[in-house]
Subunit: 353 residues, 2 copies
């Protein structure tokens, strides 16, 4: 099948450091090529892929201020979309990861499009805009993600969980440890202060690996940083190579995310390293974790504290087995079914949930 | 000719109070209908026009917060554009007043489009985006407006000065007065503090009619409001019906705009009422005023102060004669030439500068 993949221009595919969406797209492209498809990736020119790369300038983040990013990037993405859709006839399917910006182009195209919604759907603009396009095929990254727009008739054709190449995590030898791990952005909604509370109340050491975005610097310096020291260790931003060892050296990963997490790649990385996850019951969490098997799904911090006492009931192999559901090939197979359904609409109900 | 006019959805066409672009579009639509064209106006549903109105929901400002406006309105405008361009085959020409948002659609359309750039062109996003579309026909509202993008090859096909139905202004009897007038937004770039300085130094009363946008409230309260009182009178926002009398009762209108004004409707309203304009030499000013004939074009506040002494050398009829260059029918005839040039490209150089 001739498949176009459209990535955001904020980061290279795959990204040098952070960029969950771009990492997922990288694996999807390579996996679809391995499955014999003719894949064209439209992305930042610093990308690297086994698909045919159609490069589109530098990734935006490398050359733009935050202000420019907000003002200018929509227009650059629109030009990008216009150019890709001008060539729509070259493809059987166009798969866009640019979410709502894609909609006006997808609506007018003879080539079927599918949009994966990577972000949260409870924002004003998503709520206002998605219902204007009830016929455009959409994919969610968790079932729960759709709740925010459940009152609207939309054309959800599947949930496809994010997948990553988790081989390095699985091969990473575990180190016996009582330490707890936290990995994520340093922002209130990711719950780093809840992680510190859980560690303190259980008398455990907490290792925190996190990026601090410019918008979060003030909050980090005023709220989190004063608590760092002693048994709370802050490692800064980790590159991909160091993450398997980070997770494999922890007794558990804390995932106290306090917002409707659309997916949560941290959970599957931890599980692949055999490390259970103790999480709050938010967003996608109940779809990614199995309570009592791969860790614990908790309703509040008290339950998270109690759960730490029961970590020895979790089998690392059960964690790894669950992580296998989120490997790249599972995601690729699922997306192949989505593309088949788009190309032969009669197959929709049979192939795709 | 079958002409589609696309108006921004922020305001009705014409607008109940402020909205220069929407007032210009209102006159253009009616004028083109009078000239025998088949005109379709795509605009907010509260609009009122002699053209065929294709209504598109409420004007955005009536139902949205400032935040929603910034986040949501681009997407609503994109849906609007997608719907209009889906119907492009029904028209000979599409004339968009939505500026850069139109570009990705105009580029793919078999029906020729023309975009009037109503705003300033020195912003980051305009600078970054316009050069990506060198073949889309553009109209400027003053020659000077193009300077900000002069280093880029763009397809400027004409300058068409804004036009208004100035009949009520022309008919308004003048009242002998020494007062000075200021009308505009209460924001630093419109120069209200410079107007107050000119009035004080010339011992004249100043009547200020101005809207205060939410973003400008703090500045207005801290900087301008303490100066109001005595010979500085603040009248608030004026509706259209009161404006002819406002200008006709002034010895001169001050236009100390301190930014690259793309056009400046205030100047032509004042001139039509026979009231000279004393302005700073910025943006479009030298194209709209004739120095020494319709008022004075000044390089600084000192020159504005001196100019007030020479107001009796200005003939109100000369002001009215200049205003006639900016009447709706002049604008309509100019746009007809633009449309003809688009439909028959060989006519471009002959008909349109």
């Amino acid at each position: 099948m001739r498949i176009a993949q459209l990535a955001p221009l904020y980061e290279a595919v795959p990204p040098p450091l952070y960029g969950g969406t771009e990492r997922v797209i990288a694996g999807l492209c390579d996996g679809l090529v391995d499955a014999g498809h003719d894949v064209t990736l439209f992305a930042a020119e610093t990308s690297s892929t086994r698909a045919r790369l159609e490069p589109l300038g530098l990734p935006l983040r490398q050359r733009m201020s935050r202000h420019e990013l907000a003002e200018v990037s929509p227009h650059l993405h629109l030009k990008f979309l216009a150019d890709v859709y001008e060539r729509a006839g070259e493809f059987d399917v166009i798969h866009s990861h640019l979410d709502v910006w894609t909609l006006p182009f997808a609506e007018r195209s003879a080539t079927p499009s599918v949009l994966t919604m990577h972000g949260r759907l409870d924002t004003d603009y998503v709520q206002a805009v998605l219902p204007l396009y009830p016929d455009i095929p959409l994919v969610s990254v968790s079932d729960r993600q759709r709740d925010a727009v459940a009152r609207h008739r939309l054309r959800w054709i599947s949930t496809v969980y994010n997948g990553l190449d988790l081989g390095l995590y699985r091969e990473q030898p575990r180190r016996a440890s009582d330490d707890l791990a936290f990995l994520g952005r340093m922002s209130p909604e990711k719950g780093p202060m809840l992680a510190i509370e859980v560690a303190r109340r259980t008398g455990r050491r907490l290792k925190m690996a996190a990026k601090v975005d410019p918008t979060d610097v003030e909050w980090f310096e005023q709220v989190v940083e004063p608590e760092v020291g002693g048994d709370v260790e802050f490692l800064g931003e980790l590159d991909e190579a160091r993450k398997p060892g980070f997770f494999a050296g922890a007794a558990a990963t804390l995932f106290p995310s306090d917002w409707p997490e659309p997916f949560g790649l941290v959970m599957i990385e931890s599980l692949a390293a055999g490390t259970p996850v103790v999480a709050l019951r938010r967003g996608s969490v109940p779809e990614v974790l199995i309570d009592g098997v791969t860790g614990f799904i908790c309703d509040d911090v008290d339950e998270m504290v109690e759960a730490i006492d029961r970590l020895d009931t979790i089998d690392p192999d059960a964690c790894r087995a669950q992580a296998a559901r989120f490997d790249t090939d599972v995601m690729c197979a699922r997306y192949e079914a989505v593309y088949n359904a788009l190309v032969e609409p009669s197959a929709v109900l049979a192939d795709v949930s």
